[in-house]
Each structure stands twice: as C-alpha cells, then as structure tokens.
Symmetry: C2
Subunit: 238 residues, 2 copies
C-alpha cells in the first residue's frame, strides 16, 4: 500500500499545491506501474464547481506531466475507480466529501484498489481525513450529514490536518489541542497525528515517515502529547 497524506494544499501566501508538488510528482513517479493519469475525487468542493476544482488541480499536475481525470465526469464513478492508475482526493469540506463518496458507493472500490492492488493514494486536508478509520478528527463544519462517520480506513490512526498551535488572542473557544483531547477521551486507545501545515505523511511497504520541517504532534489518551520529526520512524502507528 502506498499513501501520501498531506496536511494542506497550500501554505499561506503561496500558490495552490505549490509546496507539495515535488513530493506528489516523486510519489507518482516511484509507482511500480506507470502513472500518466490520476483519478481525482473533487467532492469536498462546496462553494465552487467540480469542473473548476479539477481544472485547478490539473493545471498543477501538468507541470510534472500527469493528467487529471475526475470521478464526477462518470455515470458510474465506482467503475472509474476500478480503472484508476492512482487516486487523488482533494481538500474542502470533509462531511460533504464523505457523504458524496458514501452516496456513490466509492469506499469499497477505493479500498480494494489501494489496499489490495497497491494503487497509489494521495490526499490533502479532507482527503487525508478520508484515509483514516473515521472523519472524527476533521476541523470542518458538519454542513451536511453523511450516512456514517466511517472513512476509508486505509491507516489505523487518525490525522488532524492543518494542526495548529496558535489561538486567536482574547478568544475563549477551544484550542485545537483541547478538541483533540476530547476526541481521545471519547475514543481511548486511538492515536491522533496532529499534522502541521507544510507537512505530509508517506506510507510505503508498511513504513511510515513524516516529510516536512515541523514536527508532528501525537496524541493518545493517558499519555503526554509527543513531538515526532522527519528523523523518527513512525511505522509503529501502522
């Protein structure tokens, strides 16, 4: 199984998908089977169209010579997944993504492709949440109700993308750490990887590593949070 799980598409002040593009290109180039076209899942988009989303991603992927097909163009999306060389799930609203994927029956074909046939999977933000057992560590607003909080369950731990330490001055709402502490209190035994912006996780052949300059913050009930860096072997999380 090969997964590239990215915290965020875009760092503040940078162009769209600018910082991760070299890693995406390398990840696809390293595939055992040649990838010249990826199948994109645009269903996290809410305030812009799937066509626009596909075009935006395609423009970036064109820089390294990979075409972007999109699942929303198919009458039978599950069939499109079965023929995909690689699967790319973009960010946006995680609830909208989960609901649409569930409504279209995409979980099983994607799991089968990625977990059983080794089709590469790339996700960012909501697309990284989607690789987890559930969507329970998303930051997004529950704007629509999916059938279930279950996600693709490609990895056995939870990612919190866009993990941040900052909290607006004078604001009394919960910090991100407090929200994750609630999650682990209600889900004892689960690991949560707080993945800061500009960082990604690479899972390959049973090994997991962090790419990026900022450490990952790992949460587990009953333990003090741990900071793990790109030099650490994270495979114990798998």
């Amino acid at each position: 199984m090969r997964l590239l799980l990215i915290s965020n598409s875009t760092n503040a002040g940078e162009a769209y998908l600018e910082y991760p593009k070299g890693h995406i290109a390398d990840f696809l180039a390293a595939s055992a089977r040649k990838v010249d076209t990826v199948l994109f899942v645009p269903y996290a988009a809410v305030t812009f169209s799937y066509d626009e989303y596909q075009a935006k991603v395609a423009a970036r992927f064109a820089e390294f010579g990979v075409k972007v097909d999109s699942v929303h163009r198919y009458a039978n999306p599950a069939e499109a997944v079965r023929g995909a060389q690689a699967i790319v799930v973009g960010g946006g609203n995680t609830f909208h993504l989960a609901k649409t994927m569930q409504d279209q029956g995409l979980y099983e074909p994607i799991r089968e492709a990625v977990a059983e046939r080794g089709v590469p999977y790339i996700g960012w933000s909501a697309g990284s949440n989607m690789s987890c057992p559930t969507i329970c560590t998303t930051n997004d607003m529950p704007i629509v109700e999916p059938m279930s909080f279950k996600a693709l369950n490609l990895i056995p731990f939870q990612i919190n993308p866009h993990y941040l330490d900052a909290h607006p001055d004078g604001h009394a709402g919960e910090t991100r750490e407090m929200r994750i502490e609630e999650y682990i209190a209600a889900n004892k035994g689960m690991n949560v990887a707080g993945l800061r912006e500009g960082c990604m996780l690479l899972a390959e052949d049973g090994k997991l590593s962090l790419i990026g300059k900022k450490p990952l913050r790992l949460f587990r009930y009953g333990q003090a949070p741990k900071e793990l860096t790109a030099d650490d072997d994270l495979s114990f999380l798998l």
Copy 2:
C-alpha cells in the same frame, strides 16, 4: 416560548459564567412561574465529569439564589425533564451532547416543555447549537457519531456560537466565514447567526433581540452578510 441563547460561557480572562450571570438571573426571575431550581443538561462535557460540571454551574447560579439539579442523576432523565421548572444546557462538545440526548430520548420531552408549556430554556455554546434545527453550524470536532444531526428545533435558524473574525497569521485553514459560506451553499434558504463572544439572543413571545456590545453577523445564501446590533429587531428570524 422563552429562550436565552448565549454564545459562550466565559469571556477570555474572566471567571466562569461571569459575564452572562446577570442576564441569566433576570431571565429566570421574569418567568411567569417561579423558578427556584433549574434542570441542567451536562452531556456536552467530555474531559471532566458531569458531577464536576453541575457543581461548577451550581456555584455560579447560587449567587442569584437558584439551585441546579442535573439530569444525569436520574434513572429516567425524560421524566426529570417533564418536571423541570427551567432547562439549562451547558457548552462543551456538541456531538457528545446530541448523541447523549438522543440516546436518552430527551428531545421530545424538552421540546414539549419549552415549546408547548413555556418552560424557560437557557443554553450556551453547544447548548445554543442545540436550540437550532440541526447541529450543522457547530464549531466542534465530531468526536462521536450521533444518530442524527437534528437538534431541538426550537428556533428556525442556525446559530454559530463563538463567532470570530480573527484568523491565526500564516494559517491556511478555512476562516469561520468560509465555513459558514459552505453551510449556506449546501443549505440554501437557511439563516445563520454568527453570535460573537460576549453576546446572546433573547427570544420571548415571538420577539427576538440581541444582547451584547458586538453585532451579530447574519449569513444567507445569495446575500452579502449583514451586521445587526442590539438596537435591531431580529424577530424576522423567527
């Protein structure tokens, strides 16, 4: 129907329930039937116990001579609701609150008490989300899965409590406004009241007004957001 819907329990740097306590006391004192004891719903608590939560609220309510009973102490919580003089739903995690209230069958008895018998309802944060048609405009992490996103539906619009304009510097995650814009795009025709910290809504006899120094930011699909103040009549939202 009488509702006091508070954005947040506590302003940054102040004591718990300090800023709204005068309004809570006045609201209860103005009840047609005398309120000497409220029934508290502590189910939004996740990282601390229901006993602790009740004690914390009871200490503040004691300052104006009102006792705090809690629904978690009853073998039959729905029966406790039926006998309540007033209902108070505290903040914490909205998903945990909704799931527990749904599991215990509390929606119908609370709706019946508040909407049909005029029992006063006070909520803050998650407790204000709970008065809305759904929990879809909460800021909370979906740490547990409720049976449904439906809430008590005591008002016909959505509240976003802890509404904030600030966004951490250099962070690329969505702003609160962007999240609410996703909600109204997916739920056209719904109104969302962004209720800033330190503010509350008072609904009484079909009239709705804002209490607090900061304006409320009103969102509706296809319209520019509006800022409404304590001088405006908000009854059109009901």
